[in-house]
């Protein structure tokens, strides 16, 4: 159980797919203009990552090394299509915003990366912990990024047609925040902050042990 929790936590902190490993950035920067969309994008990634990790790990001894990549892709693509169809059927508004980025989860390197680097070599339980940890880590970062971008870029946070937070009306939102350069700037700051926090924690741990 201890190992399970450790694996789960790694995805959130020291091996966070976005701020540390920096994989799967393309879709992240694209959809993080709206908290609501980012929330569901994150959930879709958690689902696909956990399910594909679990399945790949469960059948890892049966999947021949030579054809593992095509098999991974088929498994991942199936889960993505399930998400795609379900979202289309039940959440058309959100699907319209996320659009092409949902099918593109298939080629999101965070998922294939975890299948190849982790699930293929580890037990099912741990692979699920890794999938959940990586997924939740992705989710937290994309929602935080979307929160900053939507708030600064549009001056308010809108979810399910309700304005949650609004900046004073005198604020003129800079369009740059919603464009890709803005995404890179803000993401850069987020990486810097997580690095600084990580270093501080590291120092404290050393101070305690020595």
């Amino acid at each position: 159980m201890g190992e399970w929790i450790k694996t789960f936590k790694q995805g959130l902190s020291i091996e966070n797919p976005l701020t540390v490993l920096m994989i799967g950035l393309c879709a992240t920067l694209a959809v993080s203009t709206q908290v609501q969309g980012a929330l569901f994008m994150g959930l879709a990634v958690i689902f696909v990552l956990t399910m594909s990790n679990a399945i790949i790990s469960a059948f890892r001894k049966l999947i021949p090394n030579e054809v593992r990549i095509p098999i991974f892709i088929v498994i991942i693509a199936s889960f993505v299509t399930i998400v795609d169809l379900t979202m289309k059927a039940f959440m058309p508004g959100i699907y319209q915003f996320l659009g092409i980025w949902i099918p593109l989860i298939v080629v999101n390197c965070a998922i294939l990366g975890r299948a190849e680097a982790y699930a293929y070599h580890n037990k099912v339980g741990l692979a699920i912990a890794d999938g959940l940890g990586m997924g939740v880590g992705y989710w937290l970062v994309i929602v935080a990024l979307a929160f900053i971008r939507e708030l600064l870029g549009t001056g308010k946070i809108v979810m399910f047609d309700a304005t949650l937070i609004g900046l004073p009306s005198g604020y003129a939102p800079p369009g740059l925040v919603l464009l890709f350069p803005g995404a890179f700037f803000i993401f850069g700051f987020m990486i810097a902050i997580t690095r600084a926090l990580g270093e501080r924690a590291e120092k404290r741990r050393k101070a305690v042990t020595s």
Partner: protein, 194 residues
């Protein structure tokens, strides 16, 4: 032989299982998706023809004639827009012009004189942030309302195109232009009055 056979079996089994799972999901969501598509179309029709209370399918004969008039543009539905007292006040058309990334499906509203009452985009697969400007730049779809009655390709040339999205703009324009041809060739005789 034995080795490659094992590889083939592994891939085939994976694909069969995946296809089975997807077939089940597809069957489970098919009706809901069709319903959502229908709702989206109804909302679009209401947006372009706000005065109408009901949209009646014009029938296969008119649709076929409309498709002939639309020429290379795809016309997949023609609706009569009926007002509360049952008179025909216009037409709703679903047309698809070729954009950059595939067909751009439009819902086009025409009043009974053939003037455009509104254009909305139903589906498209244009480049996000570039071709999708045909939807996000509001003036672009609004300008079609300025077209005169019985507009033709000469009138279309007066309209502005979004720079950087030439092909997407042209796709929308071709769709609307086909709507004009459909009106002139087919619907004007059916509109009654004048």
């Amino acid at each position: 032989m034995g080795k490659s056979f094992r590889l083939i079996i592994a891939v085939v089994v994976t694909c069969v299982v995946a296809a089975g799972g997807l077939a089940v999901t597809y069957l489970a969501t098919k009706d809901r998706i069709a319903e959502q598509v229908r709702l989206a179309e109804e909302n679009s029709l209401k947006t372009v023809l706000p005065d109408a209370v009901e949209f009646v399918d014009a029938g296969p004969d008119i649709l076929e004639a409309a498709q002939t008039a639309a020429d290379d543009v795809d016309c997949s539905a023609v609706y009569r827009a009926v007002s509360a007292d049952g008179t025909l006040i216009g037409w709703g058309l679903r047309v698809a012009g070729r954009g950059y990334g595939g067909p751009i499906e439009l819902v086009l509203g025409l009043d009974s004189t053939g003037k455009v009452t509104g254009v909305t985009i139903l589906t498209m697969s244009e480049t996000p942030g570039l071709g999708t400007k045909v939807q996000s730049e509001e003036w672009f779809l609004e300008q079609f309302k300025e077209l005169p009655e019985g507009f033709d390709s000469a009138d279309m040339k007066e309209l502005d195109t979004i720079s950087g999205s030439t092909k997407s703009s042209r796709g929308v324009r071709n769709g609307v232009e086909a709507g004009g041809r459909i009106y002139t060739d087919v619907l004007s005789d059916l509109s009654g009055g004048e």
